[in-house]
């Protein structure tokens, strides 16, 4: 209002409402692991082991098909309007909704726990939840660390094959 001094914006803090989002599960999404997608990822990281390219060789080594390189947990099924156009991840219902003021984003870390080998032909069901929130003071101001955990199940067997935790840094 005219003549009224502006109130300084309160520094960002993690609220109880935000903490209440921890553990809230997203809707499931399908991730496909195909011979072509495994080869594409293997080429992308410069892998040379034929176990990622040659189906006969992989089977001779005792695998179901060519093996997904570490770090590759399939490709989310994509359709325009339902997935992020830059990163491909699904825009789906459920899961946390955090209203945060930060504009800048950094990749903070990746951790994967494997319970089985993932091979071409596997179809995975992934669900995600907010696992952790941390606020740290840094030279450039407050930084919010958001960790999400995704759980990947083999749709045919129902077994959990991997869990992956991704930390993003917002500042």
């Amino acid at each position: 209002m005219a003549g009224e001094a502006k109130t300084a914006e309160a520094p960002f803090e993690i609220t109880d409402e935000m903490r209440a989002q921890i553990g809230v599960e997203s809707e499931p999404w399908t991730y496909e692991v195909t011979t072509t997608s495994v080869r594409m990822y293997a080429r992308g990281i410069g892998a040379e082991d034929p176990v990622h390219y040659d189906v006969d060789f992989a089977e001779q080594q005792g695998f179901r098909s060519i093996v997904a390189p570490l770090g590759y947990l399939g490709t989310p099924v994509y359709a325009p309007g339902t997935n992020d156009p830059t990163f491909g991840f699904p825009r789906r219902g459920g899961g946390p909704r955090l209203n945060i003021p930060f504009k800048r984003l950094l990749d903070g870390g990746t951790e994967t726990e494997y319970f089985d080998v993932i091979c071409a032909g596997d179809v995975l069901e992934e669900t995600s939840h907010l696992a952790d929130l941390k606020l740290r003071d840094a030279a450039m101001g407050k930084m919010l660390f958001i960790t999400n955990e995704s759980v990947y199940k083999n749709k045919e067997t129902g077994n959990v094959v991997a869990k992956q935790r991704l930390t993003s840094i917002h500042y």
Binding site: S37, M40, Y41, A42, R43, G44, I45, G46, A47, D49, P50, V51, Q61, G62, F63, P69, L70, G71, Y72, T75, P76, P85, T86, F87, G88, L106, D107, G108, G109, T110, E111, T112, E113, Y114, V117, R165, T167
Partner: protein, 143 residues
């Protein structure tokens, strides 16, 4: 493919064979296609400069995957990586060597498996650790 390593051959403090790669822009475009991460920060100079960076940077997940390559090459087809994680502490630029390294920190038998724990990381051309982390690998025994 390197020769299969066995649990009995491993000792604490041992360095595992490093993997080095010098990713050019084409390599990073291949990674974008394989991973589905088409952030222009990794292939568009002007976009990177608008973000305040001198040039494009290597995907953190690319470096993570190179650590994964090192672990699988070492563990062989009979070994199994149970867990590996890294944090991204520094940026790497294309056309400069990135070296993944690892050192055995512990070995034990757990749940009927031969388990090896490692410190892992990538380092840049100056030897700075830009992607430190840890890993747990199950190895076959000779018995």
């Amino acid at each position: 493919m390197t020769e299969q390593v066995y649990f009995e051959d491993v000792s604490e403090g041992q360095e595992i064979p490093a993997v080095q790669i010098t990713p050019d822009k084409q390599q990073l475009v291949k990674f974008a296609a394989g991973s589905g991460d088409f952030n222009p920060l990794h292939f568009d100079e002007k976009f990177a400069q608008n973000m305040g960076l001198p040039e494009t940077i290597v995907h953190g997940r690319f470096k993570y995957a190179v650590v994964g390559r090192m672990l699988t090459q070492w563990a062989g087809h009979k070994g199994r990586v149970q867990r590996f994680g890294v944090t991204y502490r520094g940026m790497d630029q294309p056309n400069k060597p990135i070296t993944a390294r690892g050192t055995v920190t512990a070995k034990k038998q757990e749940g009927g498996e031969n388990v090896v724990e490692l410190d892992v990381w990538t380092e840049d051309a100056e030897g700075k650790k830009t992607t430190p982390g840890t890993a747990v690998v199950a190895l076959p025994g000779r018995g």
